[in-house]
């Protein structure tokens, strides 16, 4: 019995070691950043703060000695590279050149060894710049030596600074800024509308495509591969193609529509907030750029739904349809009463997955419109805050809001997954 137990322990230990590499990589590059993101969201940090401030020293010779007995006068300008963040433990080291001696010494300097002068400052304020001067009396030996004429004392500086990510105080300012920003509610609403409609249309298209290819005919597998192209092509290629394709000035779509006389003036598909469409004599504003972004999503991701639904369709037992044939049911009846119920469970899962992934998506909207014309979503907002405006803290706060909303959908997804598993 004891041996058995130790075997189990051995197995657990083995499992631990085998899982370790994967867990370490994922924990350090995914889990840790998510936690760090929460941390940063409570800090007031800009893009520039990421580079730590340093003390900068400039040594300048203001008087060059001509003959022994002349004075060598050197000034040292010390400044903080950051305007607002303090430095600590600033240490300046100056070497007295050979053949020269110090004329008079301030008490800010301490002599170390024979030829080294040191000066230490516990704190150096942000933006502070000060200049010190040292005078040396030269002897004849000075002129025999090869001294760098620009920096005869080869002065050096060291400094320390606190990491902005760790030191600055906690604040809720970032969240206030993000939520109170103009148009925040607008991009919040579109952040939900976009994945909702995108997922919906892509699933509808997926159903249609799957029904089309759910038969054996020549070229079926070829078409199946073809239908997956939008999904597997690199996002940057796919978006550039559509951007050029829809361009108001040199785009093919506009040129075709103009040439065939469908429209009189080019349509800026991806830059137009709204476009008036006459419907029964009424002019209805249509949110064009937003619709195009949604259509792009549907175009790119319908293959995902298509594949899932097709494999589900192929798993439906044939005899169900045969029984329906005997009953004389038509195509649409068979679709409604057999096909649809059979695929409905997978439809829910696909919808949630697509919704979650599109909700998270940054690349598509960023590359298509850059978030202009009302197409801004939360991920693009994260980027704009953090890197467009250089406010890392506000960007992180936006990301936290996104993550919190996302966790609701994820909980829903897992609940659904569990129900499907239980069935």
């Amino acid at each position: 019995m004891k041996k058995y137990k130790s075997l189990a322990a051995q197995e657990a230990r083995l499992a631990f070691w085998m899982l370790l590499p994967a867990v370490v990589i994922v924990a350090s590059v995914i889990l840790f950043p998510v936690i760090a993101n929460f941390w940063i969201s409570f800090k007031s940090i800009g893009l520039g703060d990421l580079r730590p401030p340093v003390a900068i020293l400039r040594e300048r010779v203001v008087q060059t000695p001509k003959k022994p007995g002349d004075e060598l006068v050197v000034t040292y300008q010390i400044r903080n590279s950051s305007r607002d963040r303090d430095l600590s433990d600033v240490v300046v080291t100056v070497r007295i050149p050979k053949g020269a001696s110090i004329a008079d010494l301030d008490d800010m300097w301490t002599v170390e060894g024979k030829r080294t002068l040191k000066s230490t400052f516990d704190r150096w304020e942000g933006g502070l710049s000060r200049t010190f001067e040292l005078r040396f009396i030269t002897e004849s030996e000075y002129f025999t030596r090869d001294v760098d004429p620009r920096a005869p004392t080869s002065a050096e500086i060291e400094s320390a600074s606190k990491n902005a990510l760790l030191s600055s105080p906690f604040t809720l300012d970032n969240f206030r800024k993000v939520v109170q920003a103009r148009h925040f509610s607008r991009s919040l609403i579109f952040s939900f509308v976009y994945p909702f409609l995108g997922a919906l249309i892509s699933i509808l298209m997926g159903i249609m495509a799957a029904l089309l290819l759910n038969r054996t005919f020549r070229g079926q597998s070829f078409l199946r591969g073809l239908f997956l192209f939008p999904y597997i092509s690199p996002i940057i290629a796919a978006t550039f193609v559509w951007v050029f394709f829809l361009d108001p000035f040199s785009g093919t779509v506009n040129a075709l529509l103009l040439d065939t006389g469908v429209i009189d003036a080019p349509i800026p598909f991806l830059n137009a907030w709204t476009i008036d469409i006459s419907l029964f004599g009424m002019k209805v504003p249509f949110p064009l750029a937003r619709a195009m972004v949604i259509f792009f999503d549907a175009w790119r991701y319908f293959p995902f739904a298509f594949l899932f639904i097709l494999s589900r369709l192929q798993a439906i037992p044939e005899d169900l349809y045969e029984a329906a044939d005997v009953d004389g049911a038509g195509y649409f009846k068979k679709f409604r009463h057999i096909t649809l119920p059979q695929i409905s469970s997978v439809l829910g899962t696909i919808f949630l997955l697509r919704f979650i992934w599109t909700f998270n998506k940054f690349d598509d909207v960023f590359l298509l419109t850059g978030g202009s014309a009302g197409t801004k979503t939360l991920p693009v907002e994260v980027y704009d805050n953090a890197f467009g405006r250089g406010d890392i803290g506000a960007g992180a706060a936006t990301a936290v809001l996104l993550f919190l909303m996302l966790s609701i959908f994820m909980a829903l997804y897992f609940k659904l997954l569990k129900e499907v598993d239980d069935e």
Binding site: E11, L14, P21, A22, L228, A237, F244, A399, L406
Partner: protein, 411 residues
């Protein structure tokens, strides 16, 4: 039981099918001509409907009077040619005909005839029922659907290819013209590619992308295989929880990781290095790979491995000698996926790389996206980044498609 009797309903079905196939085919033809040459005004409706009705009528006649598959096909082609002449008469009445129009009609109409005859096969002209009408609707929807999906899937990629092979002047002169003059000198035809590859350094970017993607595959697969083996074959506390956690992590948004990784990597000097990118790509793909491998390992019988253990192999020996060879198809497919994900990745390449020497293709494309750079160069770049993925995908389609649904590529 006279199958030569024709019901009104049956004839209506034949006419509707005839008109539909005619309009769809003429539309396809005009689209092709417009894109491959000069843009034409869309053909007027009347000639299409008239010829469509003729197609329907002749289909009805063919079905009732002509016996035998071969003779029916022959009849259809002949009737198609005659209808083509009628079309040319009606259409040429208003527009001036070109050689292209004549040839187009002579090819298109026999095809319309053959297609619509085929569609009429399951629909009798006598004793036509509501079910047959439904069948007609389904056929129309199918034909239209196939046309629609093929169009939206193929067209953007054709546009990409065609634009990449044009000169700037050609493109600006007539953006609607997507024809490519293949007869010009190759150095002119592929001028955009030569410029992108050699002047903008895409040769280097291809190498970089390939190196990063290949190394990502290696860095991802090793921990994933070990982890998937542990999760499926070893018993330990928290195993099920871990499996769920993997799936959960797989849904984490990349944009949430960007800010902290950017901050930390900047301070650690890992930003703007290939190593930094590699670490991120591996971490992003390990959950997917582990999850998919786990699903595959679950389908493998454990007997062989146990036999190996009894024969004195160590666990690692079992994995290397038994599990990996058995799971090779899945490992290869997942490796391909990881390669594709790393190759296609945009966000981190865009945020983290500043030095052109280490740019991946995706990052290089952003560099090209500049007012100064002509568009056909960008499209040439797009072709360069897309083609390897397409080739890989088509080559290994069979293995990849199963995996796509099993784990689903994140995207």
């Amino acid at each position: 039981m006279n199958d030569r009797a024709i019901s009104g309903l049956g004839m209506t079905v034949a006419l509707v099918l005839g008109v539909f196939y005619t309009i769809l085919s003429v539309f396809v033809w005009f689209l092709a001509v417009s894109l491959l040459g000069k843009t034409n005004a869309f053909p007027p409706l009347l000639p299409m409907v008239v010829t469509g009705v003729l197609v329907g009528l002749s289909n009805g006649y063919c079905k009732v009077r002509i016996r035998g598959e071969k003779r029916q096909i022959l009849f259809s082609v002949g009737a198609g040619l005659i209808i083509a002449l009628i079309w040319l008469l009606l259409y040429g009445f208003k527009a001036s005909l070109t050689v292209k129009d004549v040839f187009g009609a002579l090819i298109t109409f026999p095809i319309i005839k053959l297609l619509s005859r085929n569609a009429m096969k399951d629909i009798p002209l006598s004793r036509t029922t509501k079910g047959h009408v439904e069948l007609m609707v389904v056929k129309i929807l199918r034909a239209f659907g196939l046309f629609f999906f093929t169009l939206i899937v193929v067209f953007p990629f054709y546009f990409m290819l065609a634009t990449s092979l044009k000169s700037r002047a050609e493109y600006l002169m007539d953006p609607a013209n997507l024809s490519v003059n293949l007869l010009q000198h190759p150095s002119k035809l592929f001028g955009g590619y030569i410029e992108v590859l050699f002047r903008f350094g895409f040769v280097r970017f291809i190498m970089n992308s390939a190196i990063v993607a290949a190394l990502t595959v290696v860095i991802t697969l090793i921990p994933s295989i070990l982890g998937a083996y542990a999760v499926t074959r070893l018993r330990f506390r928290g195993r099920d929880l871990l499996s769920r956690l993997i799936l959960l992590i797989y849904m984490f948004p990349a944009i949430v990781l960007v800010i902290p990784l950017y901050s930390v990597f900047t301070q650690a000097g890992l930003r703007d290095t290939r190593l930094g990118l590699l670490i991120i790509y591996a971490a992003m793909t390990i959950p997917v790979a582990l999850y998919m491998l786990r699903s595959y390992f679950l389908t493998l019988p454990a007997d062989l491995e146990e036999a190996g253990l009894i024969d004195g192999l160590s666990r690692l020996g079992v994995i290397i000698r038994i599990t990996i060879p058995l799971a090779m198809p899945a490992i290869a497919a997942i490796g391909l996926y990881v390669f594709m994900i790393a190759w296609n990745e945009f966000l981190f390449a865009y945020m983290f790389l500043d030095t052109p020497e280490i740019f991946t293709l995706a990052r290089g494309m952003v560099m090209l996206d500049d007012q100064e750079v002509p568009r056909q160069l960008l499209m040439a770049g797009a072709v360069i980044i897309t083609v390897p993925i397409m080739v890989l995908f088509i080559r290994f389609q069979k293995h990849l498609v199963g995996g796509l649904t099993a784990g689903g590529v994140k995207g």
